[in-house]
Symmetry: C2
Subunit: 372 residues, 2 copies
């Protein structure tokens, strides 16, 4: 039987996710909100039997075996560590935490309870386009990987009222929201991690028509970063939330023999000498998601299509892990085994910490993974 | 009467340019090549009455009043300085020289002979899309300019045999060939120059099927750079010649009130609150260039459409300067007045020098314009 789920968070993503979880056969037993009112609203809207604003009230429920932590990032680590300690499986949204040491606590908890699932929601790993990109890179399609060239263009990520997205101390900003996915998918596809990084981050929009009181926006809305991977690959990424219009994401991997590009959720490739680029994977929207997507159009502003599709596919892999799981560590063998672990989350957090430091120090910074 | 022209160089651009110059009414009197054979081949092919491999033989000709310096960059400065000293007008291809001090000599020569035309071939300034972008930025379409986001994707710039393009010491590389144009157009459009810069440059393709002897390619084929302009604008640019296929250039200017993007030679814009992006200038190919373009398809590999169109429009402005010029400094008033001067070329060179230094030092570098 599939586990009962407790959801932490009351945002738009929760509104998109809960119907999808049910469609997959999961029971959503409880929802937690920062305020009782927020929790009640979501519980009513989504018909969730239990709501609360106390973390323990969800974690201690017997009918909850798996928790989805999709609330503000400054609460991720404490909820995840506690959940694992109580024996619950955990899916944690990105960023895993606020700094590397926080995520390291999550890593320790995950190591202490290896039979529990503990994954970070880097869903791009489950998009067919990136899966195929990784396979082709491994099979030598591009030869030696020289360059990863990434850009994400989107509109403002700031909502109509001040919330954690406006505050870099609470984990907001385009680096944590988008860059975390990019840092993860680059290491997933290339099999390399960053050795040193350089970042340039800015907050250009410090107030809006609706947020202009005593609190100012200080989360980054522009980020350009470069990484030198351990194998020598140069990565350059531009994350620009000043581009209005739709969400544009392009991840190119260029090598000595050719190149691969994921645009949106489609994969293109061209080998050296080929006359033109070929479509390798049509990024058609998954039909099973369409109905859901239509019912939650506003979700797309916070969670663009490729990320939403990826998250849904990650949920599908989770379902399979539970449906076929045979005892301890069973989840390490199924499709969910390729999900981002808390260790991966720590690496991503280490890179983000170094990028922030680099933007302030104006220097390249080494990536050091803490172990204590 | 329009001046007679002497051309320095025998490359594909010369083959495209000479027919266009004639169509505009210029007489092409002489061509110089590095070897007598190269000069003779071009002279025969293009029906140019005089050819030589001696610089002075072109400069001293009475029927040559304007020289186009479109040869290898390490010769630009010496030819330009000499030409001005002999009283010839000069159009110099980019990069103006190999380093800032070399270009400074050109600046001094230009200052010493102010009645002579001295321009660098940064033709993007003459593309209608960029002219309109500049006007709209000045008129406040985007508000305060926060971000310039540039990317250029193209295939390899290395030809079938070893030449100056393979050598960074001789001025080759994607930074000098493409980045110089980008650095110039950003300052042209924003009215701001760089205060400090950060560069990451690499040569991934050190040999090819045809270039694999004792000489290796050491000019950069990948460059990611960032600039902080004097007004605080962040510029990030990715120049990637590992992308095969066609030439893709996108220059976005994002501000507090909206954004403008030149894609290829078309201008798009979106103001804050607008539902979608609007086409502000159709980048249709100039019909007068089409015939010429068709006859020199291979030129496009070395000089992509926007640059070729821009260069041709710069030539049109030059023609007007001569056709309407009324005595000294007359050329400072006409359309050619917006061309890049040697001072502009010195600035671009200073930025490129700093980017190379930054890539080696792994630090941000200040832009210092030499004056002695």
């Amino acid at each position: 039987m599939l586990p009962g789920i407790g959801v932490f968070g009351t945002g738009d993503i929760v509104r998109a996710l809960v119907p999808f979880l049910r469609a997959k056969g999961f029971r959503v037993e409880a929802v937690w909100g920062r305020t009782l009112e927020a929790a009640e609203n979501v519980a009513t809207e989504l018909n969730i039997p239990f709501h609360t604003n106390k973390v323990d009230d969800v974690l201690l429920r017997k009918d909850v075996d798996l928790v989805f932590i999709i609330c503000q990032p400054d609460l991720h680590a404490q909820i995840a560590v506690k959940a694992l300690g109580i024996g619950k499986h955990v899916l944690c949204d990105r960023p895993a935490g606020l700094c590397q040491l926080e995520v390291l606590k999550m890593v320790h908890a995950a190591q202490y309870y290896p039979s529990l699932i503990s994954v970070v929601s880097h869903g791009l790993r489950f998009l067919p386009a990136f899966i195929q990109m990784k396979r082709r890179v491994e099979a030598g399609y591009v030869g030696t990987v020289n360059v990863c060239d990434v850009r994400v263009h989107c509109g403002s990520m700031i909502g109509s009222q001040f919330d954690w997205m406006c505050s870099h101390l609470m984990g907001g900003g385009i680096l944590t929201m988008v860059g975390s996915h990019i840092i993860d998918i680059v290491s997933f596809v290339t099999g390399q991690r960053a050795g040193r990084v350089h970042g340039l981050m800015r907050t250009f929009t410090k107030s809006t028509d609706k947020i202009n009181g005593i609190r100012w926006i200080d989360s980054d809305d522009f980020c350009s970063f470069q990484m030198i991977l351990e194998g020598g690959t140069c990565v350059t990424a531009t994350l620009n939330s000043h581009m209005g219009g739709g969400f544009v994401q392009e991840v190119a991997v260029c090598g000595s023999k050719g190149r691969l590009v994921v645009r949106g959720s489609a994969l293109y490739g061209q080998t050296a000498g080929a006359a033109r680029e070929e479509l390798l994977h049509q990024g058609a929207d998954d039909p099973s998601l369409l109905a859901n997507r239509n019912s939650s159009a506003r979700v797309n502003s916070l969670l663009p299509q490729p990320y939403l599709q990826g998250l849904f596919r990650l949920v599908g892999a989770l379902k399979e892990a539970f449906a076929t799981g045979d005892g301890e560590h069973g989840w390490l063998k199924g499709p969910v085994a390729s999900a981002a672990t808390f260790e991966d989350g720590q690496y991503v957090q280490a890179v983000m910490d170094a990028l922030r430091l680099s933007s302030a120090s104006r220097q390249w910074e080494q990536i050091v993974l803490e172990k204590i």
